[in-house]
């Protein structure tokens, strides 16, 4: 057992740092610092920079453009990315549909889809959830009826994050309505330009339209866009749901945010002539959160190490999702407490690109409460924390 990086790992760390310092676009960095929401172009631009370096998809097999990194290298990369404030790739193509295509797609599908995902030429979104199939995903109702060489798709998918930008969507659809719940589901890739698709935004409680409903009205999808066998889609979907747990805990990002929180507290007057970091109660809460994240970091490193010696990522990774979101949401709470009454103003123009007026509240304060609201989704989306606890109790504890 050894916590230290090897010389080779330290060298890699330097390489990542140098790359980020040189290549991470300062405009994007600036936007993030000002809490300006990134647009499609920002994500694509940055992802293409990573692609040029060969670092677009650290977790793909080398044959398809992956990096072949060790667990330690992936950890270093994620950590340095977070420290530099560089956004993760939008996961729907790179981390969600690609592994399914790689594992279950045929050669033609691999050649057709993977290079454009790797190069960020095509933006994907997910079509899993439905209005009446949330945590109970397998109760989905969107149908795909075979007509010759096409499926005709009807139904509604929801919680499509950034679906407004998407070129393609991957969907779970019901191809056999007589079969039992998990059976009769197929996995389709659908061109968003297909006639009959309508995207309507859902406004979240902080006013952002980051998720959508996608409606399918007799959308014709070529049969060759189906992954694997008909009616076997649930098997592929399940793999996706337990796959790609890398950095699901969000530790590097949470560590950076915690440092920002401490800096903010040190700069925040406590109203009594001191600052908030000197307030023992607030400092205690920060320390507890920092300790939680430290524990989480090592839980993730242990999981990565297990994977790197060939063990499959087990249901234990559910704890990374649960604790990762809880820690992130705890930071949101503390940031809101730090902002105090200066968290109340809702001034969206402050977060628009090009805003150069005076901020209301200190840097970060004005967005603290909105971030708190928005991030409540973390424990709901991506398999709610309740579902994760069901997984732990069934698959780990055998209850």
């Amino acid at each position: 057992m050894n916590a230290a990086f090897t010389p080779a790992e330290l060298e890699f760390q330097e390489e990542v740092r140098a790359f980020l310092a040189a290549e991470f676009p300062s405009e994007i960095r600036h936007k993030i610092a000002r809490h300006v929401p990134l647009e499609k172009d920002d994500f694509v631009r940055w992802q293409k920079v990573l692609h040029r370096k060969g670092w677009a998809a650290p977790n793909w097999p080398v044959a398809f453009g992956g990096t072949g990194w060790t667990a330690a290298q992936k950890y270093i990369f994620a950590q340095e990315m977070a420290k530099a404030g560089a956004p993760e790739p939008v996961p729907f193509g790179m981390k969600m549909v690609a592994p399914v295509i790689i594992t279950y797609g045929n050669d033609e599908q691999k050649q057709r889809f993977l290079p454009d995902i790797l190069a960020s030429n095509v933006w994907w979104c997910q079509g899993y959830s439905e209005p009446n199939a949330g945590s109970d995903l397998a109760s989905l109702k969107t149908t795909a009826v075979r007509e010759g060489n096409h499926y005709v798709v009807n139904g509604t998918k929801t919680w499509n994050t950034l679906g407004q930008y998407a070129d393609w969507i991957f969907c779970l659809v019901r191809t056999d309505i007589t079969a039992r719940k998990q059976e009769g589901i197929s996995f389709l890739l659908i061109d968003m330009k297909s006639p009959g698709i309508k995207v309507s935004p859902i406004y979240l409680l902080d006013g952002t339209p980051e998720v959508n409903e996608v409606h399918f009205d007799n959308v014709r999808v070529p049969v060759e866009n189906r992954i694997g066998e008909e009616n076997q889609g649930w098997t592929y979907a399940k793999v996706l749901l337990t796959h790609e747990r890398t950095n699901i805990a969000g530790v590097p990002r949470s560590k950076v945010r915690l440092e920002e929180l401490k800096a903010g507290a040190a700069a925040a007057p406590d109203g009594q002539g001191g600052n908030l970091l000197q307030d023992p109660v607030f400092a205690h809460k920060i320390a507890e959160t920092e300790i939680q994240i430290l524990a989480l970091e090592y839980a993730e490193l242990r999981a990565l190490a297990a994977v790197s010696v060939g063990k499959a990522p087990g249901p234990e990774s559910s704890i990374l999702k649960i604790v990762g979101t809880e820690a992130a949401q705890r930071i949101d709470e503390l940031a809101m407490e730090l902002a105090a009454l200066q968290g109340l103003p809702f001034v969206p123009e402050q977060f628009e690109d090009g805003f150069d007026g005076e901020l209301i509240g200190a840097e970060g304060e004005a967005s603290a409460m909105l971030t708190y609201f928005n991030n409540r989704k973390q424990s709901i989306f991506g398999g709610s924390n309740e579902i994760q606890k069901n997984i732990i109790s069934k698959a780990v504890l055998g209850l």
Binding site: S139, L205, A268, G271, G343, P345, L370, K377, I380, E386
Partner: protein, 377 residues
């Protein structure tokens, strides 16, 4: 000891319930939020007509009686409907300061107008460096002839955008955090030198950040004795705090109620989610939080109405605000979580209740601030 509502309180409660039922459906509220003023002038006139604007004031001041328990009854119903009209900021806090500090002439001039709904007040009490400390006043008022010259910046002036006049805490002596040397002056909103940045708060109320650049105020605009305003400020803020606590109790009840009802209809895994024991126990915990919040707010209101030392009243208000803040965190988060994705949407009222109770925790001192004040007193 008596825990029952008086006849007047029952009538007040019923009257608000009737109003809310008729005028405050979720869509109607949404239209008010989207309006320029951010509140309904018609509703405001109705509030005046129904006598609600007199509730915070003593009979001597021409009011309903001024009991905190009356305010509690009213505010809880406001909370259930998420009423956005600026009752607390303008009438309880603004009117409270006038009532506590004003001379007989000032009161006669201002209170009838306020109770009639024809005067909108806002209080500019907080400053960026001061966090929740009302004594941290760096805004200065220097005497210059028969005028004060006011300089400084106030944050989160609730009802600031629509107020006809501002009640501003200013330092007339001493240094930043001295408890002595704080005065309150009333300044017409259109006075030259006032630079206002209006905004909507995260929960849909209107507020402003206000800078005072050499604002000239006649010395007659002083409310109360020069330099001795802090006790009245604290007292008025404590009453306003009690009001938002009671409002939160109403809103929390709605969050619980809506979550329980949703859980009875929402089907997942072939059963209503309300049949899952893990969620049942969490809703039981929400119920407990709601009941404790209601109980401690009742305690605080009854203590404010009792003949006890001021420190005990402050302690009671801090206990209530602290516990309500805790309940807001817990019940609000659980309501959203148990609703799932739909609870995150602007379209459902649940997210609006969640935002309001969360915002209330950040107003007039959050849970930590009040827990510390409680421990200190």
């Amino acid at each position: 000891m008596d825990f029952s509502f008086s006849d007047e309180q029952q009538m007040l409660q019923e009257s608000v319930q009737k109003f809310v039922h008729r005028h405050y459906a979720f869509d109607a509220r949404r239209a008010i939020l989207a309006s320029a003023a951010g509140y309904s002038a018609e509703h405001w006139a109705l509030f005046a007509e129904l006598g609600w604007l007199t509730v915070p004031f003593s009979e001597a001041d021409g009011g309903f009686g001024g009991l905190a328990t009356d305010l509690m009854v009213l505010m809880e119903e406001f909370g259930k409907a998420l009423v956005v009209e600026p009752f607390v900021a303008g009438v309880v806090l603004g009117g409270g300061l006038v009532s506590a500090l004003g001379s007989p002439a000032q009161k006669e001039h201002l209170l009838p107008e306020l109770m009639a709904g024809s005067l909108q007040l806002a209080c500019a009490l907080y400053e960026e460096q001061g966090r929740y400390n009302l004594a941290s006043v760096a805004t200065t008022a220097h005497v210059s002839g028969s005028h004060f010259l006011v300089n400084g910046t106030k944050v989160l002036v609730l009802n600031g955008p629509v107020a006809d006049a501002l009640l501003v805490s200013v330092r007339t002596a001493g240094s930043e955090r001295d408890v002595e040397g704080i005065s309150v002056v009333m300044i017409a909103s259109n006075t030259p030198g006032i630079v206002r940045r209006d905004y909507t708060t995260v929960d849909g109320h209107r507020a402003a950040q206000i800078r005072f650049d050499n604002v000239q105020v006649p010395v007659s605009a002083l409310l109360g004795q020069q330099g001795a305003a802090l006790p009245a400020l604290q007292q008025s803020v404590d009453r306003a705090t009690l009001c938002v606590c009671a409002e939160a109790v109403g809103a929390l009840d709605m969050l619980l109620h809506k979550t329980v009802e949703y859980s009875k209809t929402r089907q997942q895994f072939g059963a209503p989610i309300g049949s899952f024991q893990a969620l049942q126990h969490r809703m039981a915990d929400m119920f407990i939080e709601c009941e404790l919040a209601r109980s401690i707010v009742m305690m605080a209101a009854m203590t404010l109405d009792a003949d006890v030392p001021e420190a005990q009243k402050q302690r009671a208000v801090s206990a209530a605000k602290s516990r309500v803040g805790k309940a807001a965190r817990k019940v609000g988060q659980e309501a959203v979580q148990l609703h799932g994705g739909i609870g995150m949407t602007d379209e459902l009222d649940v997210s609006h209740y969640f935002k309001r109770v969360t915002a209330i925790d950040s107003m007039f001192g959050n849970a930590d601030f009040h827990t510390a004040r409680f421990a200190r007193l």
